[in-house]
Symmetry: C2
Subunit: 305 residues, 2 copies
Amino acid sequence: MMAKSASQEQLFIGIDGGGTKCRATIYSAQRGVLGTGLGGPANPLHGLERTLESIMVSTQQAMRDAGLRLESVHQLVAGLGLAGVNLPSLFEKISEWEHPFQKMYLTTDLHTACIGAHEGGDGAVIITGTGSCGFACVKGHSVNYGGHGFAQGDKGSGAWLGLEALKAVLLDLDGLGPQTRLSEMFKLHFNASSAMGVAEQMAGQPSSSYAKLARMVIEAAHDGDMVALTIVKDGARYISNLAKRLLEINPPRLSMIGGLSEPMQKWLDPDIAKRVEVPRQPPEMGAVYFAQNALLEEEQKVAIK
Amino acid sequence: MMAKSASQEQLFIGIDGGGTKCRATIYSAQRGVLGTGLGGPANPLHGLERTLESIMVSTQQAMRDAGLRLESVHQLVAGLGLAGVNLPSLFEKISEWEHPFQKMYLTTDLHTACIGAHEGGDGAVIITGTGSCGFACVKGHSVNYGGHGFAQGDKGSGAWLGLEALKAVLLDLDGLGPQTRLSEMFKLHFNASSAMGVAEQMAGQPSSSYAKLARMVIEAAHDGDMVALTIVKDGARYISNLAKRLLEINPPRLSMIGGLSEPMQKWLDPDIAKRVEVPRQPPEMGAVYFAQNALLEEEQKVAIK
């Protein structure tokens, strides 16, 4: 039986920053999850100030939920998963933040999502929500593919499905492409009667607005619409290839997360679809595991010295 | 011999508003082009104030160039071709402008481009620059197809070529798509070594930045790169279909204008390529012809009363 170490008592906070919200979970090895909190957008690529504010909002909410006094924030060891911190400049900027925690360990949102999905173990994860990307980590070696943002990357994602469908609808309405029932669906959705009427409502819209169209594309594909089917199958082929690329480093598990992971699964290569397992924990718990491991490594280094 | 009418002496100003600049030409039937001027961006969809300012800058420059006193702006009959005024709300807004001209006649930039290309006569025009679209006018009946903006429309345009190429490069660099020499070209262009390095420099960039990549795509296609060839041929197929759609109303002439019209011509359907004729006059002269016709019609209406 292991001696009860200080880290059994240590309070951790796992924080998962996302484009629309920030989730925080307070956890101790001894007592499990003590409280959770929710903040606003926390993608540092879209604004650093806003991100730090959302982190603090979710932190304070989680502390209140856990029945902790706000001053005890200094006792928390934080794990933080944020988009874009694979860029060294952004990693440095956030590392320099005068955060209130006892310690703060920073990594990408992909990394914490992966650690969470496999409950701290090695594995691979594919995220298909508004955007899409893949990440795998095996024995400390990690790879990531895809992402790259809307409209140049994120193939197979909600925003990509929406954009491809809109392009097909505009071609159809101009008499320059095959007919698709998506045209009637989009005209109804936008309350518009022409290509121009549909197009002007989407001009300059962010990727999240395109992602809102994805539901209709999936629906039309289910109904056998050839244009929608071609789009969905093209996206699913990409996701399958992404999975194969991740499996090259032999991760023991593969999970899919995000709003489109469930509807896309039926279109994946059967070989890939049968490999997909449920994510065991959410990304904010991945951030907790990440902080636990980082603290342990630090303590071991100190012990060796 | 026709009697010398008042409109022989009348001074006209033709104004062509574009996304990056505004061109003005002062003209009289008797004396031809008297002066030209150049202003800043004049796309009312991107800002009405800025557009009106650019119109006045180009107008004043053209007046100085013509040796006219600025007070005589009240004697000019203006023809104005602007993007987006096919939207009734925008047409109305600009019509309500307290302009300094004697009269002002407003239509779309596509319409004035078409009138200019065919020196006042009927015809069709395809614009392939940063964006793409088609317009035809025969006996007062006009049609227009395409456009719809980046990234959802404008197929076959410079921005579209650049975006499709970037998508292919990111797939290649991730090992998720066919190899293309565009990848080396783009890495060199962006001074980047990875997909991430290339992608982050294009994130959130406007369509004009994507259009700057088009030259490399055309070059790679000429060199026989299969990925670039597929993209360019797909774009050219769309432009050919757009031309066929415009030819349905039997315009007597077809012209192409914009920075990509020359390089794209060799990839068009041979049947279409041989129909393409040089534009005879620029869009700002189209705006002059438009104003001349509109004034004449008004005078005839008054005469009938």
